[in-house]
């Protein structure tokens, strides 16, 4: 109970917490290994670790047929598993969970488009790219409604520069074939 109160107090002292903002997003494997963490509210490292640990356990304990939302402390958790990766977001209690589910899906689509049939390995070995994409799409925790091209354009521009400089260096491009379980990105539910 004390920890719950502390979490609330921390949020209370944040100058102006916008309504219906995402609090954090976590990506973790089926073994509970963290692959990406993005926090949109100020919390101490200790609190982040505790939240991560407890939340991962709670989500992993959910059975497949259950709904994608769960109530945890005073937050709403929206999660979805894509192949071996869990995408997990925390939102305010009164927020619309279905939108958050779609935010997750949109993010997966963007990753898929960028990496070309994305799988967990892509995210593991290129997690900073996953962060770049996330930050373009969810700037400061708010969804950016943009034309499809724009989100990836910003990343690809910088990548193109890397290609140019690398090909000057090696004169050859290396293709990478990743033979593992792919993330299944369903087009409709």
């Amino acid at each position: 109970l004390f920890e719950t109160l502390r979490l609330r107090l921390t949020l209370f002292f944040f100058p102006l917490l916008p309504i219906q903002q995402m609090q954090f997003m976590l990506l973790f494997s089926r073994q509970g290994k963290l692959r990406l963490q993005k926090w949109y509210v100020p919390l101490s490292d200790k609190e982040k670790k505790k939240i991560t640990r407890e939340l991962v356990q709670t989500v992993l304990a959910r059975k497949p047929k259950m709904c994608s939302f769960l109530e945890w402390r005073d937050l709403k958790i929206v999660y979805k598993r894509y192949a071996s990766l869990y995408f997990c977001c925390a939102i305010e209690d009164q927020d619309n969970e279905l939108i958050t589910l779609e935010i997750i899906h949109r993010y997966v689509e963007l990753l898929d488009k960028y990496f070309g049939s994305v799988c967990e390995l892509d995210i593991i070995f290129n997690f900073e790219k996953a962060y770049f994409i996330l930050d373009e799409f969810l700037l400061g925790g708010e969804v950016q409604e943009t034309s499809k091209k724009n989100v990836l354009k910003a990343i690809e521009q910088a990548d193109l520069l890397q290609e140019v400089s690398k090909s000057n260096f090696s004169g050859r491009s290396v293709s990478m074939v990743v033979v593992t379980q792919k993330l299944h990105v369903p087009l409709s539910f």
Partner: protein, 450 residues
């Protein structure tokens, strides 16, 4: 070892076989993919191969010691620094503190080329927090990048400002960002709006004077910029709805255009035009129309149309419908709309899809005060939900029932709550439910006479 790890490891030799030794560490492939034999790759591979937490700690501490030496060495190139920074982010993600690297993250953002700068900024946004003393050092870099002729650098600076910026230094960058509101590139205008939104949240009085610029953003020819301005408007209207009633007409018009498909198809998400924009507008309209018949009058049409248009069978459509229903119940009531909204809720509650059922219950809980009959209509379904295998559905049902308790049904409802308490292990849920039972006990003391 789990099958996922096994698969990961068995794929790695395949990756290594493809790696061209002449390309150097981190050879590019596809859209800038990192090969598994890079330093990060071998670190990850080594961690995966370990079987105990103790071994992981040892390995990471070794790695951190080596990283500490590298980042402090004067001969380390920026390119190597960037690579180290990524490994530091990885170590912190695993839970190992690496604060010695923070200052170098700032330096990387300051001195690096485009790619190095990007990683530097990312590291800063992940490592530091609003009140960190090192954050002040970032300001000069941001100021410099905001004035850069390279638009990608400007974007990076705006992105980091939207995420983390020291409040006291807002005056140093405010004029530069205001300037960007008129930039020819929409991506810059949009990020500038988002940065100003951040400033509004952390220091509202500092951006008081530029509210007319927000209006310009609202009328921007690019829908993305306009959508970004809605974040600010939603916040401002939440605090003071009366100050913005005059904008109701504009919001209604925009929503009409979006719903009517007037935006470029580029903004479609699964055939739905700009869904997040629609939802923002619906929330804004809800706040403006609350307890205000005249303002609500302006929006009945467009809400009706939104209900009709959202026919496609996709989650995002249901999300918009849900918002629409909420707005209809928030503003000054209109019976035809309420009827349609009630039908909608009914469809949700009866849906076999568990997520929609949950949302239906949630909507019922929201509207129950205004329309108690709706719950009666769906009594059977609600009672079924009480025995649903998913504890979350059960809990939401109890939440709903709590709101419709009366002298007749309170005993049954409290009994169901007590049953749930026996199964539940979650502290927060228990506390909340016990509180409710106590309340009901006070209100209906006779329930303890049995």
């Amino acid at each position: 070892m789990s099958d996922v790890v096994e698969r990961t490891l068995s794929a790695l030799p395949g990756l290594l076989g493809q790696h061209d030794p002449g390309a150097g560490p981190g050879g590019a492939g596809g859209p800038g993919r990192v090969s598994a034999s890079s330093r990060l790759g071998s670190l990850i591979r080594s961690i995966t191969a370990l079987t105990s937490k103790h071994e992981e700690e040892k390995l990471i501490q070794q790695e951190l010691t080596s990283l500490k030496a590298t980042v402090s060495a004067p001969t380390t190139t920026l390119r190597l620094m960037k690579e180290c920074m990524v490994r530091l982010i990885y170590c912190e993600m695993l839970g190992y503190e690496s604060s010695f690297g923070y200052i170098h993250a700032i330096k990387l953002a300051q001195q690096g080329n485009l790619l190095e700068k990007r990683v530097g900024y990312l590291a800063v946004s992940l490592f530091l927090h609003e009140n960190h003393e090192l954050l002040l050092l970032l300001v000069n870099t941001v100021v410099k990048d905001l004035q850069s002729t390279n638009l990608v650098e400007v974007c990076m600076a705006l992105t980091v400002v939207s995420q983390i910026f020291p409040r006291e230094m807002i005056p140093a960058v405010l004029p530069l960002i205001e300037d960007k509101l008129q930039h020819s590139k929409e991506i810059i205008r949009r990020k500038a709006v988002q940065a100003l939104y951040k400033f509004y949240l952390i220091a509202p009085n500092q951006v008081q004077h530029i509210h007319d610029k927000f209006r310009k953003a609202l009328c921007d020819r690019d829908a993305g910029v306009m959508a970004a301005s809605l974040h600010i408007y939603l916040q401002m209207i939440k605090e003071n709805s009366s100050g913005y009633k005059d904008l109701t007409g504009s919001f209604v018009t925009i929503l009409k255009q979006v719903v009517g498909g007037k935006l470029s198809a580029d903004f479609n998400y699964h055939s739905v035009p700009a869904p997040w924009l629609q939802i923002q507008l619906l929330r804004i309209l809800g706040l403006l129309g609350k307890d205000d018949p005249r303002t609500s009058e302006l929006m009945y049409d467009v809400l009706d149309e939104s209900l009709r248009r959202a026919e496609i069978n996709h989650n995002i459509t249901y999300a918009i419908l849900f918002e629409c229903v909420q707005t209809i119940y928030t503003i000054y009531p209109k019976s035809e709309l309420l009827e349609k909204a009630a039908k909608c809720i009914g469809k949700f509650v009866l849906s076999p899809k568990i997520n929609l059922k949950y949302l239906g219950l949630k909507a019922l809980t929201y509207v129950i005060q205004q329309d108690p009959n709706l719950a009666l209509q769906h009594q059977m379904t609600i009672i079924e939900c009480l025995d649903h295998p998913d504890p979350i559905i059960k809990r939401e049902t109890l939440e709903l029932l709590y709101r419709i308790t009366n002298g007749q049904n309170v005993t049954v409802i409290v009994q169901k709550m007590l049953d749930y308490l026996k199964e539940s292990q979650e502290e927060y849920a228990i506390i909340s439910l016990v509180g409710k039972i106590a309340e009901l006990a006070e209100k209906y003391p006779f329930i303890f006479l049995n």
